[in-house]
């Protein structure tokens, strides 16, 4: 079995993995990172979205061996020093989650979107989140949250 090294949410792991093991199963079944859920098996829903070396991937569509040597951030690693990431805060303020199952992937996708497009229009947000499905919210409040989160992320950049 191949041995891989990954860093997940700041912690280094070395694991022997079957070549077929998916990244999402490495995270959930082997490393106990159950904050990232698996929703569909066909990369349609986006619930399993994580950051791999700074860019979002759907972790059901990446083999664990492909992630060898990479730095992964999941929803569990976003809040720093007990303080929510601005996008997490914005989702709370705008009531952008109900059951919360799509939320980890949605938040990760939203952060990636805003890094590429710091001041996204409503249309850009809707297009940008097309690969992340939510069955509860009808997306209205998610769009509002991403706008708010983008503003707060922008201010955080300016003040740093």
């Amino acid at each position: 079995m191949p041995r891989i090294s990954v860093k997940v949410d700041g912690i280094a792991y070395e694991e022997d993995v079957e070549p077929r093991l998916l990244l999402v199963h490495l995270l959930r079944e082997r490393l106990g990172k159950t904050g990232t859920p698996a929703g569909c098996d066909t990369s349609n829903c986006g619930a399993c979205t994580v950051m791999l070396d700074g860019k979002t991937v759907k972790s059901c569509s990446v083999l664990a061996v492909q992630a060898d040597g990479s730095d992964i951030v999941t929803i569990e690693g976003l809040a720093a020093n007990g303080s929510l990431h601005p996008m997490q805060r914005a989702f709370h303020e705008e009531h952008a989650l109900q059951c919360g199952f799509c939320t980890p992937g949605m938040v990760m996708a939203a952060i990636d979107l805003v890094r590429d497009t710091p001041d996204p229009s409503e249309e850009a947000i809707r297009e940008g989140l097309e690969g992340n499905l939510c069955r509860c919210t009808g997306y209205c409040n998610i769009v509002r949250a991403v706008k708010r989160g983008a503003q707060e992320m922008g201010q955080a950049v300016k003040s740093s």
């Binding site: 079957e18 569990e76 009531h95 809707r126």
Partner: protein, 775 residues
Amino acid sequence: MTEVGKARRRKEDARLLTGRTRWTDNLQQPGMLHVAFLRSPMAHARITGVDVSAARELPGVVAVFAGQDVAGEQGSLPCAWPVSDDIVIPEHPPMAVTEVRYTGEIVACVVATDRFKAADALEAIEVDYEPLPPVIDLETALSPDSPKVHETGNQAFSVKITSGDLDAAFRDAPVVIDRTYVQQRLIGAAMEPRAVLVSTDGDTFTMWTSTQIPHVLRVMLAMVTGVPEHQLRVIAPDVGGGFGTKLQVTAEEVLCLLLCRKLGKPVKWAESRTEGNLAVHQGRGQLQHIRLAADSDGRIRGLQVDLLADMGAYLMLVTPGVPMLGATMFNGIYKMDAYEFACKGVFTTKMPTDAYRGAGRPEATFAIERIMDELAAELRLDPIEVRRRNWIKHEEFPYTTIAGLTYDSGNYEAATDKALQLFGYDKLRAEQADRRDRGDPVQLGIGVSTFTEMCGLAPSRMLGEANYGAGGWEHASVRMLPTGKVEVVTGTSPHGQGHVTSWSQIAADALGVPFEDVTVVHGDTAISHKGMDTYGSRSLVVGGVAVLQACEKVREKARKLAAHLLECSPDDLDFADGAFKVKGTDSQTTIQELALAAFAAHNLPEGAEARLDSDATFDPVNYSFPHGTHLTAVEVDTETGHVKIRSYVAVDDVGKVVNPLIVEGQVHGGIAQGIGQALYEEAVYDAEGNLLTATLADYLLPSAADLPDFVTDRTETPATSNPLGAKGVGEAGTIASTPAVVNAIVDALRPHGVRDVPMPCTPERVWRALEGGRA
């Protein structure tokens, strides 16, 4: 301090936003084994042999069972709603033994040391099938020469309800409209796939499962499996959406319990999305034949409804009850002289249908709201005007409808006027006329839907009259902890609805304690011992009221203790902001201090118990009847058939609101799901009974890019059937939006000779309807 009515941010969020979740599939037990199910690839076949010997030899495989191995102990999955005396409820083995009747039915299972080994071993099981003819089409299923799903035939039940003189209503009626509508089958597709984990200490069993109904499930599992109810604990941990699909007693739950009992080890099963599409009960599935008779001024004389309802292969928990939830709703918000509802339940070789958001009421609302537009078109009246001429006026409430329900309150005029104003109706009609004049290839359509629904399920007495197998009450307990903090235990079982937040608001007001000092516990039969769970827009209007009433009992106990300690009569105490104050003095004590005094119990009134804790069981006297008016403008490309929703306005009247943020979120999500039915979603079976939409690549859920921002507003006519004045909101958006969107599409295309587009209104179907209109 008033919490009720405040847009409180949710207490639930922080955990969900940081990944500290407890989805069933996240949970582990020491020594846990993993279950995988082998499912039938055929819609209808006799099982002539199952060979599991090769699978048993594979590494990591602990056990393999076929239907025959559990036939004596698996029981039959329950149907709790025998809607008529003639109903046929076939045996429904959780694991098929001799015959499979839908694609995806379980035929064998593997228990292994990890989920991958379990899945691998499925491929080593050999099943011999002798194909039998599938039964797919509802109409031909009832013909005498149709192949049979069950030996008893393909009719599950037949019901007819009449009110008024239908013959007189149709005789010499100036206008008769006759239409057939198809309610396609839908897949609920909650984002969290189902999962079940069962563990045992050899005596008692604990089941964690992704369910909406831990309490109902426990009772039913005890009845099906013989595991005594008191030795069975059911926990619904975090549940990622339900929409009715998790209102079920599933084969997988029963089998996991049996496997745990057989092996004495914890077992877990986690569903793949394809398994979910195949084998989670589906929604809708009706062929609706509707006739409406009217006078030449548009006044409705009578309505005749003739339904074929697709049951699928078996009757599950409330399968036959779903069309019956629409039996008294096809008349909608309108007055009429006569009404007839006839429905036949039909067996087919497809996954059983059952509750899906709205359950029976969206189907009914769709039919009446579509045919009201046809009536308007026939009479060349504005579709809003024809509704106005027929609806119950606000001064006529309470109003007993032709179908026999008493609508307690409502104001259809106010909701409609507000919606028209927000929508800019006249301006959009002008644009529509302009586009028609110009022959613009992109035409504008305007769709309206006015609706009400019976929800807040439900008065136990009425459920009994409808042959439902249980009551509709709800329970709450309030525990006053020694430090003055409050634990509310509810029998409702939220899976996204924010009960922890809303129930905290109700308790904070009723007890006069800070919102932050209240916690809400739910979804565990060992902690919340009584409950009827969450479905049918019932949680607030039944369960929320139980919370309020339990708090009121706490307050009355506290008043007696306060009077004793302050040495006055209970009547001399005023209660405000959580404190009892002796009238005309500064002498006072708070309810939180009294909690400690009750705990210490050093100085209680004679005969008083050492607690303020109280509980309440609320059973409403009537259903509640939220209503609303939804308007949408759609652009239809007449060259490609593409439909784009340009604007959507919803004005809902859900009575008194506890948390407007949560209410708005429910409306948003409901609208999106209803739009899904109108434009995108359909569970498609081919002629052989294969499901062609077994993944989310084939079954289209609306994405953010497919939907506009929704404009929502409310009118507020309090319900009179409960002390909160609330009516329920979970299903409203779904009920209203489907007909609004289809009405808009047909409205855009009516000058092209189109009078219907079957759902989902895909570009191809819109284009074909246009071609038909041109022909």
